[in-house]
Symmetry: C2
Subunit: 234 residues, 2 copies
Amino acid sequence: MRKIVLASTSTLFGQEYLAYLKPVMQQLFTGIKEIVFIPYARPGGISHDEYTGRAAEAFGAIGIGVKGLHTFEDPAQALLHAEGFFTGGGNTFLLVKQLHELGLMEALNAEVEKGKPYLGTSAGSNIGGVNMQTTNDMPIVYPPSFQTMGLVPFNLNPHYLDPVPGTQHMGETRETRIREFHTQSNIPVVGLREGGWIAVNGTEITLQGGLSARIFKAGHAPYELESGGNLALL
Amino acid sequence: MRKIVLASTSTLFGQEYLAYLKPVMQQLFTGIKEIVFIPYARPGGISHDEYTGRAAEAFGAIGIGVKGLHTFEDPAQALLHAEGFFTGGGNTFLLVKQLHELGLMEALNAEVEKGKPYLGTSAGSNIGGVNMQTTNDMPIVYPPSFQTMGLVPFNLNPHYLDPVPGTQHMGETRETRIREFHTQSNIPVVGLREGGWIAVNGTEITLQGGLSARIFKAGHAPYELESGGNLALL
């Protein structure tokens, strides 16, 4: 049975890394001693080792060991032997480029579809969508493809931000950007506010975290889905 | 002699389309009766015709005719015969994809290098940089390349936004995103605030518009360049 959590953000304002997700992590990774961490998104350009250290600290607090995928000579083999996965946030273009170039996107997908638990935050959640084309990140590198795992039948927009009333800034709002995406694609988009996450249990896909999410479908007005709501049939 | 204006935005808050740029347009396009408008960025998904109509209205007010590049059977020939160019804003990925797929990126570059005046706003300014990898736009389509014209020896970040003091949002600031770009590239980046523009006259490249810009160079702390400052030797 598939067990997946795709969170908008790793960190809530004023909190420790992954703190608000600890109960979710404990449930998702029940019975698991060690996970593989995928550090390729490198937030702020930090090293893979540093980033893995951060994840190890947070998982250590719930008694789970962490190995960085970058430390394995054969990362595809490492995915095959792993018990579970966490992909951290950062730059989605970097993450997707590296996963495709190392031939790992489909390998990771296959392991998660087998039922190995997967946690993603931010960029790590984006790759659970059909493609990365609703990321907020800058295209700092050129990936060979924008396709991602498609663990859910829609795209995500993590760190979703509502339009700021009365702003004088003329740059596009998040809603405008997603509407532009829908001139090119019919894939639904879940605007996932910080503090919210998507939980997949087998074929069930629900919104969690106590916040509503903004749902965008091509040709329809966007609407709010309350926490607990069904995302399986968007 | 090269004559180029790359503006952060087409429109200032509460003003008409291109209103604040009219004196600049009059000077840039002196003696020119008709320009070719490049509408491919399609802001908000509007049609090429609608978008060209907007540009025609603004240029009509200063006595200059506008033809949309999309109306020509052979757009490369249209660039060759044009007197000058304006590329409007919208989605940079759409714009760059279409220019590359139609074989127009280098053709446009060649005409501008010959001395035909070029105005860009937002996405239309991004393509004046070395590449589009510091755009704020969503990757709603997959372009065959991120390379752009390189009319200036740096990249632009239009609609540049300073970090918001006291925000509780955990998404990356613009400065963080540009710093991440500099883990991958040594190309300098000009963070161009709304109301500012870059003026190229021959080999002179200066900042204009009365606002400072934020300059980002790999391995250096970002700094402010005052309006009037030299951008030729970043």
